[in-house]
């Protein structure tokens, strides 16, 4: 059985690769037609663009740095704010009852529409993008922590109290770790949204960043650059997601994985 599984995952990789090759080939041959090429770009030119960005011209790094800085800042600010707020409201039923309708309203509001307002408030620099991305990240983390705090097992709490934990120790040793596990389950979503917020913010008004590059290319119908930008963004979103995955594995090693056996 294990042998079969192994060859199964190997052939899976081959099929995945094959699919990629087929897509690229279809794209390449279809774009021989200039009409198609105008709308869909040409894979070789897209690749050339990426190569120029990273190697020959090496001019994308400053833009990437801006986008990534915005993403990381938004990710941390949003996560910490969401965690703090979630803990606070989860632990004080009165405050949460009062704020409930406002939180629901703020969450259901289409927040992308705030981008121009943030542009007015924070200018065209990175902070207006950070602010937009924070509004996306915050609610994801907030609702998860809020839920997590309310669903801490009463037995765990009673046990900790019987062991002599004071209110502050309960917060630090029971509520916070319990909430952290909920935060991590939302981090993959929130790092993606931080990225979306940053890029959309740039797209709607900025002077640097990968979103800005894409916007400029669109203005000149340079569809190859647009696709190159999309591919670079996707690659970096995957990298960020992987980093979160590694961090999660480190910090959440106490969590059971199904069918885990000990390596001897």
């Amino acid at each position: 059985m294990p042998k079969l599984n192994k060859s199964g995952s190997g052939s899976l990789r081959i099929w995945q690769l094959l699919l990629l090759v087929i897509i690229l080939a279809v794209w390449h041959f279809a774009s021989r037609d200039p009409k198609v090429a105008f709308f869909f770009g040409e894979p070789l030119k897209v690749w050339g663009r990426i190569w120029a960005w990273f190697v020959t011209n090496a001019d994308i790094y400053s833009h990437l740095a801006v986008t990534l800085t915005e993403t990381v800042l938004a990710f941390f600010i949003g996560t910490i704010a969401g965690l703090g707020f979630g803990l606070w409201l989860g632990l004080s039923p009165r405050a949460s009852a009062i704020l409930d309708p406002y939180i629901k309203a703020a969450n259901s509001m289409p927040r992308v529409i705030l981008a121009p307002i943030f542009g007015m408030w924070f200018g065209l620099g990175i902070w207006s993008k950070v602010a937009l991305a924070v509004t996306l990240v915050f609610f994801i983390v907030f609702f998860n922590v809020y839920q997590g705090v309310r669903e801490v097992s009463p037995t765990l709490l009673d046990n900790a109290r019987m062991l002599g934990a004071r209110k502050r120790q309960l917060l630090r040793h029971v509520y916070l770790p319990s909430a952290t596990s909920w935060v991590f389950s939302s981090l993959h979503t929130s790092v993606g949204l931080a990225f979306v917020g940053a890029v959309v913010g740039e797209y709607l008004g900025s002077a640097s960043g990968v979103g800005y590059l894409i916007l400029q290319a669109e203005g000149t119908f340079d569809v190859n650059t647009v696709f190159a930008g999309i591919i670079v963004l996707t690659a970096f979103a995957l990298i960020l997601d992987t980093i979160v995955g590694v961090g999660e594995k480190r910090l959440m090693k106490w969590q059971p994985k199904s069918g885990e056996t000990e390596k001897l």
């Binding site: 097992s153 765990l156 046990n159 900790a160 019987m162 062991l163 002599g164 004071r166 106490w254």
Partner: protein, 269 residues
């Protein structure tokens, strides 16, 4: 009798539904019981009769509707700090290793970490978990988790030990082993124990005194039996002692009717 380690005086507990104030349920009514220092008392009763409620009241986790709890003569306010509580369900912190769980009580009390770790390792050995310090709760079997919970409770050296069906989830062999281990630890330290169980055999084998509760609602003690079996006991061997069989028959005579009552109520509900 000397001053009781724990005494419940005319305790009643009525729960009110949060949504509908007129929905009431009296779990415990007018219960009085006392446990002397060093005494091992078991409380048996049909399922759902409010045994855990009594324990939560003794622990100070639940305030009774009326009546008073006294701990070594002092009225209990808030958490009962002289008591250790071994819960029925999973109570280990899943994000802490076994050792960190065992020393949690010391950590909360501000004991220096190195000393706490030493005492923690010592207790892990004492409950037979030496070498498993780094395991997380999900990596341990049910029996190992119970051992860790036992060490976690006893490391604080409480004067009163409250146990809520601590072994009900274990298989019979592990259970007898744990029962003997608890008896050994108790013989060495002689703390007051309030042990809740639905297993009459377990109650008789371990206790100095067995108290039988009536079926709910409005649970109250309806019988009390001194267990005069010699100690030290082995829970497996003591079961074939003629005196054990006699006591079992006597207590079961009282308990049987309540179990049937409780069963009938559950069926109706």
């Amino acid at each position: 009798m000397a001053e009781a380690a724990l005494s419940l005086e005319n305790i009643s507990c009525t729960f009110v539904s949060r949504d509908d104030r007129s929905q009431r349920y009296t779990a415990v009514s007018d219960t009085t019981l006392a446990i002397a220092p060093g005494e091992f008392v078991s409380v048996v009763g049909p399922t759902g009769c409010g045994k855990s409620t009594l324990l939560n009241v003794s622990a100070g986790l639940l305030a009774p509707s009326s009546g008073q709890v006294k701990v070594f003569g002092q009225p209990l306010v808030g958490i009962n700090e002289r008591a250790g509580y071994m819960f029925q369900g999973e109570a280990l912190l899943p994000w802490r290793s076994a050792l960190d769980n065992v020393i949690a009580g010391l950590e909360f009390a501000g004991v220096a970490r190195s000393e706490a770790l030493d005492r923690g390792r010592e207790w892990m050995r004492r409950v037979g978990l030496g070498g498993f310090e780094g395991r997380y709760p999900h990596q341990m079997s049910g029996g190992m988790r119970k051992r860790a919970m036992l060490a976690q409770t006893l490391i604080r050296d409480p004067d009163i030990i409250l146990m809520d069906e601590p072994f009900s989830a274990l298989d019979i062999q592990t259970r007898q082993l744990m029962e003997n281990e608890v008896l050994d630890l108790w013989m060495a330290k002689r703390k007051a124990v309030l042990f809740i169980t639905h297993d009459l055999d377990e109650a008789i084998a371990m206790s100095d005194r067995v108290i039988v509760l009536s079926a709910g609602p409005g649970t109250h003690p309806i019988g009390e039996f001194a267990i005069d079996l010699p100690r030290p006991r082995d829970v497996a061997e003591v079961r074939i002692d003629p005196r054990f069989v006699e006591l079992h028959a006597a207590i079961w005579g009282v308990l049987r009717e309540e179990v049937l009552k409780g069963y009938a109520q559950q069926k109706r509900a």
